[in-house]
Symmetry: C3
Subunit: 266 residues, 3 copies
């Protein structure tokens, strides 16, 4: 028996928007501690990991660990039927081949039950080792989204270069090239507008913009995003979900033929 | 000679939006008492009836009963050219094959005349007998629109079931099923947010969602909608037009093969 | 060496939106006095002339006259990457085959450099002789945009007829016809809402609405638009750019076979 009640139901709608373009089908893993998901994108290039801790739910009951295979497109369509102020409850029964999403309006005058068929999905849980990163950048999530979108008009890949002074995003294509520099800036009035760089050594890595732009679908979940970079490690793009957990995206850097493109720039 | 002057011209634009997707061509019937329309949708499944009483117009002159055949798509395009604050006057001459829509801006500095060709349309006026309904539900029109839209993501038909406690809307499809229950609720602060059920006996009927979603195009005309249901009678979906009349849609219930689907549920 | 710094960078974005649908590639001509462009549209029917005077820039350095060939679609895409509050600087070097657009955020924490390849474009600068016009109409630009858009639902051409009392816009098509009359009106509270007619003699000319609708893309640049009309001369549709210059569109009138259509109407 599973019953997870989330007062802030709109959060679950935002989570779906952050995942559904990247992953078609995935197992949600529920234990007494958390509701979580880990899945490769459909082209097996990027990895997404979602964690929602039990403490963030108003009511969280999960009698035994279960894994529920869901079509994320269908799940997103059903959750879109919840009002933005609705309380959402996820319900499952042991051995059932369905899951139920219950939406309660704030006034309790409207109650909706959406029952969705579950799927059998083969998946292996990848262990993600903790790693030391050469550079960690925390910046406003809206700014990161804007930069990825703007650079996608110029080229297919972005070079992210971090120095003590700032972080540079570069792209190059048929019509020309672009460099966007954000300076380290910790003295802003609002902490969520800061750009903070923790750096052990300069790093410069190249990534496919198509995936970066998919990751930025998580922007409504958090005011800030954290990029963790190391040579030869996948970048981690993390959006914290207040008081509940996070959504993290992992993407391996591209190995460029052209040395010019990957060499750290001063 | 016909001259109908409507200060609140935007109302006529909303009326067109409520009809034009359902009906291509129709006769508007004008008498000394009203400006009205009755037409089957293009697939001859649903019926729409519009009544605008003479009292609602600032000026209403219609010397003799006439019927003007109009292409509703063209009429909607012309009325879209009226500003939202414009006064609209509909003008016709006996024996003319055109109708003129005049739009006056509130300052009278801009006057537009749109002249539209009339059409000959065969139509028989169907008598709609007054009927007793097993259940009548009055509810917020925006809520009804939202429910029809949401259920259309799940299935093609909606089962509407009315009991004393509330009204249930259900749909079923490949990805799963959905039940949305609205409870009778007459104690809200704003009368237009109430859900009021008058019921002689429980009723449960199935309708094509495609038509229901067309009917909800009338939502901007009224804060509330009234559903009148009886077994073996078409549902009436009515939007009142303040101080002028109404727009009513009629749709026959579907006869389901599966008894489960049409049986009233407790 | 060229360096043009414009604090109100969003103005340059609006200028691109006003030109890019009409012209694919064009030379920007820069002198010590101004940054300007003159180009025929791609079907060689309409002419657009842009003037931005040096005084309107915060910093304007242009050592010698140069002509820079740009693809306007690419330029517009790059300028879209500037924030609405950004300061934009256009930079060029003598003999270089690129131009750089630099965007600085108001806080100076984000600096973007977009480098665009230049093109060789053959163009001859057309002398546009000063002319006396039979009628000059100044009117709100949003009203002109609305009228052109509305009439395009009715027909392909607009007849613009000016008398002392007002200006009439007419169109005719399969579904009917439309006449929109704006009365001379100089006593409005806000000067930008006035319709002012200077007329030497009545004039009535026919123009392709497709081009008129392209011209109205300049509406965000100015609250008012000025139409200058004379028989056998191209109409001039001018949007002033505050304190900097203007954008002007020229379009030759159509010669109608049907005399009815071009004859001035009382």
């Amino acid at each position: 028996m599973l019953e997870l009640r989330l007062v802030q139901g709109s959060l679950l709608k935002k989570v779906m928007d952050a995942i559904k373009d990247l992953v078609n089908d995935a197992n949600f893993d529920c234990s007494s501690a958390s509701f979580a998901l880990q899945a490769m994108d459909s082209s097996h290039v990027a990895l997404v990991a979602l964690l929602l801790r039990a403490e963030g739910f108003e009511h969280f009951r999960c009698d035994r660990n279960i894994s529920m295979g869901m079509n994320l497109g269908n799940m997103a369509k059903m959750l879109k039927c919840a009002g933005n102020d609705d309380i959402i409850t996820i319900k499952g029964d042991d051995g059932s081949d369905t899951v139920t999403f219950m939406f309660e309006s704030p006034t309790q005058d409207k109650i909706a039950d959406f029952e969705m068929k579950l799927m059998d999905i083969d998946s292996e849980h990848l262990g993600i080792p903790d790693a030391e990163y050469q550079a960690i950048v925390r910046m406003p999530s809206a700014e990161f989204m804007r930069i990825c979108r703007d650079l996608a008009t110029i080229g297919d890949t972005v070079v992210i270069s971090v120095t003590k002074e700032g972080v540079k995003f570069s792209a190059r294509g048929d019509m020309g090239s672009a460099n966007i520099v954000l300076r380290q800036n910790t003295t802003v009035d609002k902490p969520e507008e800061a750009t903070i760089i923790e750096m052990n050594e300069p790093v410069s890595l190249t990534f496919a913009l198509r995936y970066m732009n998919s990751f930025t679908k998580a922007t409504p979940l958090s005011n800030t995003v954290t990029l963790s970079l190391s040579a030869e490690l996948p970048i981690v793009v993390e959006y914290k979900i207040a008081e509940m957990g996070y959504i993290r995206y992992y993407l391996a850097p591209k190995i460029e033929d052209d040395e010019e493109e990957t060499k750290p720039e001063a």
